[in-house]
């Protein structure tokens, strides 16, 4: 009985992990299999006919994969930088400064969390079209510059920063901006890491918005590029398609592994999820 109690949680978690990881495993498996084996249901990791080289070189040469990746990097970093630049001072003000209307603003932030991007897509699209900004990096980034999720997450984490340190800093001559960036954000690096992962993954994987505002292949971020790839191939070469998917998933995996410790500290600290 004690045995069961001890291992049951692990068993449940293992099943969960299996379900989550299976698609990725399948993707990787398909990317190294030859066309003949692709529809095998076996999960055996070593294919009879090892065609990873062929699939990956196909994926890299058929479409400008490097270009897609670069586009992804530009868009994701652009979004992340502006998000942090705007959300950190906003969160600091909401968490630590006293001014009339603070509660109302905080309520608005939380309310804004409930608005999905789809609801805003049409006005945003019309606006961008009228200002002739479609088919630009800016069009892909602009709707995400102001992140209420970031404001909320940083607010949760900044709130626990000791007030006495902020007061000591004021007496020492720190300006509010220096307090915000050099002390308070400095004390919340785990939540910065957590938010960076959330933001990078979300926008790296985003297909919906780039598909709406970009039709130029040269501007396509990876998921949109994959779509072109599938079109070119009429969806026939699954091996190469999955090799492409593996290539664009890898950076996110690396990014997560690098900040894993901070990420976990960040989400447990801020009480998000």
């Amino acid at each position: 009985m004690a045995y069961v109690r001890r291992y049951l949680p692990h068993l449940v978690l293992a099943i969960g992990a299996f379900v989550m990881l299976l698609p990725f495993y399948w993707m990787f498996l398909t990317s190294i299999r030859s066309p003949g084996e692709i529809f095998d249901v076996s999960l055996w990791p070593i294919p009879k006919d090892f065609s990873a080289g062929e699939n990956f070189s196909r994926a890299a040469s058929q479409v400008p994969m490097a270009r897609f990746m670069l586009n992804g990097v530009i868009v994701c970093l652009g979004i992340l930088i502006v998000q942090v630049l705007t959300a950190v001072p906003a969160a600091y003000a909401l968490a630590k400064l006293r001014f009339p209307g603070r509660r109302l603003l905080m309520t608005l932030v939380i309310a804004a969390l409930c608005v999905p991007i789809q609801a805003l897509a049409l006005p945003l699209f019309v606006g961008l079209a009228m200002t002739e900004l479609l088919n630009t990096y800016f069009a892909m980034m602009a709707p995400f510059f102001l992140s209420v999720f970031a404001i909320f997450l940083f607010h949760q984490s900044f709130r626990s920063y000791p007030n006495e340190i902020i007061e000591a800093a004021r007496m020492d001559g720190f300006s509010e901006m220096e307090i915000c960036w050099r002390l308070v954000l400095r004390g919340s690096l785990p939540s910065l890491a957590a938010f960076s992962v959330f933001s990078l993954v979300a926008h790296w994987n985003d297909l919906y918005w780039p598909m709406i505002v970009v039709s130029d292949t040269n501007l396509a971020p990876p998921p949109l590029g994959m779509l072109y790839f599938a079109d070119v191939e009429s969806g026939a070469n699954y091996g190469a398609l999955m090799a492409g998917a593996t290539i664009i998933t890898a950076p996110m995996l690396v990014c997560f592994l690098l900040v894993r410790r901070h990420f976990i500290a960040g989400i447990t600290m801020t009480g998000v999820k």
Partner: protein, 381 residues
């Protein structure tokens, strides 16, 4: 920097509907060690934060060294504050922590930027700052800790770093908000002594907030005892102990607490407790119920006087405290202080009598204010 005076005029503050400060006037002399004491919630910390500029008063003015600073930012007032939690910058080591007030003051913004700031800093200024940090560390006996992070320090060491950070900039006055309350009892006693000697050496103005009357009594030149947003009494520790202006002051100052006896003043001004004449004369105009305060050391065993039952005795080294219960009203507790060797003769049922030095008793009216009292011949009951 020569020590500066701090003047408060008519300071008032409300939080919502609660009036936390009700018109405070207070002059702190240059070089004085002044304590603000009182129960928690009496407004003493709020008052200190107003001097610091961290909180704005609704009414009244704050002046430092004769000039009005009411509307100035905290950093422009040239005050240093030591916080209860020490408020050290957690990501900086001790050296950087102590240097920060000077860096913020003397270096331009460009030189304070992370990573590249060093390129813009004038080396002469940096050397001066280094020297000042070393000297402050020397004064507080912490040169060996300069390269540690705050998290690696004990409470007492953090306390010293906070003090070094305060004194490195030679402020017009030091503000301290319960700086010793997070230390253990032994270290607290030691730091009390050190703070007092630091004050003597620097000759600076200290404004010290505490809820601990022993800290206030042992270190201060003067004490301002606060209660419910007012200063009840301002005076030397001795004045507060020997002639408390109100019942609140009498209750607050002194360990063990003052003994309080419910008494009655009759139409002639004679003071009696439970119908027993105490040989004390008050003004006839104050007739009515009142409270008599007697310090534990002013009581002694006697053949007649207040009839009490002894409950227990505690020996504290040189002193012995005997707790008793008044026979006439069992809810009244009386503590008697004796030297450790002395004994108290009691009857078989623990009963005895206590007499007190009438010229050292304090009389307080029903409103808590001190009443004049004189000694006269006792009238037999």
């Amino acid at each position: 920097m020569t020590p500066q005076s701090v003047e408060l005029r008519g300071i008032g503050k409300s939080f919502g509907t609660e009036n936390v400060l009700k018109g405070i006037d207070l002059s702190v002399r240059p070089g004085e060690f002044l304590s603000l004491v009182g129960m928690s919630g009496c407004g003493k910390s709020t008052l200190l934060r107003m001097i610091a500029g961290l909180e704005a008063p609704d009414r009244g003015t704050v002046s430092i060294g004769g000039s009005d600073v009411t509307d100035m930012d905290p950093s422009e007032r040239n005050l240093a504050m030591v916080f209860q939690s020490y408020a050290l910058y957690p990501h900086m080591n001790v050296r950087q922590n102590i240097a920060t007030p000077l860096r913020m003051r003397r270096l331009p913004l460009s030189a304070r930027l992370p990573l590249i700031g060093g390129l813009f800093a004038p080396s002469q200024t940096l050397r001066e700052i280094d020297a000042a940090v070393e000297q402050a560390a020397e004064t507080l006996h912490i040169p060996h800790l300069l390269d540690r992070k705050p998290a690696q320090l004990s409470g007492g060491q953090r306390q010293r770093v906070a003090l070094a950070r305060a004194l490195v900039r030679s402020p017009a006055a030091f503000l301290m908000d319960e700086p010793l309350s997070n230390l253990d009892a032994k270290l607290r006693a030691h730091m009390r002594e050190e703070l007092a000697s630091l004050h003597r050496r620097l000759g600076a103005t200290f404004i010290y907030v505490t809820h601990d009357q022993i800290e206030a009594m042992t270190m201060s030149d003067r004490i301002a005892l606060m209660s419910e947003g007012r200063i009840e009494q301002l005076g030397t520790p001795d004045e507060l102990y020997r002639s408390p202006a109100t019942l609140t002051v009498a209750r607050f100052i002194g360990t063990p607490s003052i003994n309080l006896l419910p008494v009655e003043i009759d139409a002639q001004g004679k003071v009696a407790a439970f119908g027993q004449d105490l040989g004390l004369q008050a003004a006839a105009a104050h007739a009515g119920p009142a409270t008599l305060g007697i310090r534990s050391e002013d009581l002694r065993p006697a053949a007649e006087g207040l009839a009490v039952r002894v409950l227990r005795a505690e020996t504290h080294g040189a002193d012995r405290f005997v707790s008793c219960q008044l026979l006439a009203d069992e809810t009244v507790r009386i503590t008697l202080r004796q030297a450790a060797g002395e004994t108290l003769e009691t009857g078989a049922d623990g009963l005895t009598h206590l007499a007190f030095a009438p010229e050292r008793a304090h009389l307080f009216g029903a409103d808590g204010a001190r009443r004049e009292l004189s000694v006269r011949e006792r009238v037999a009951a």
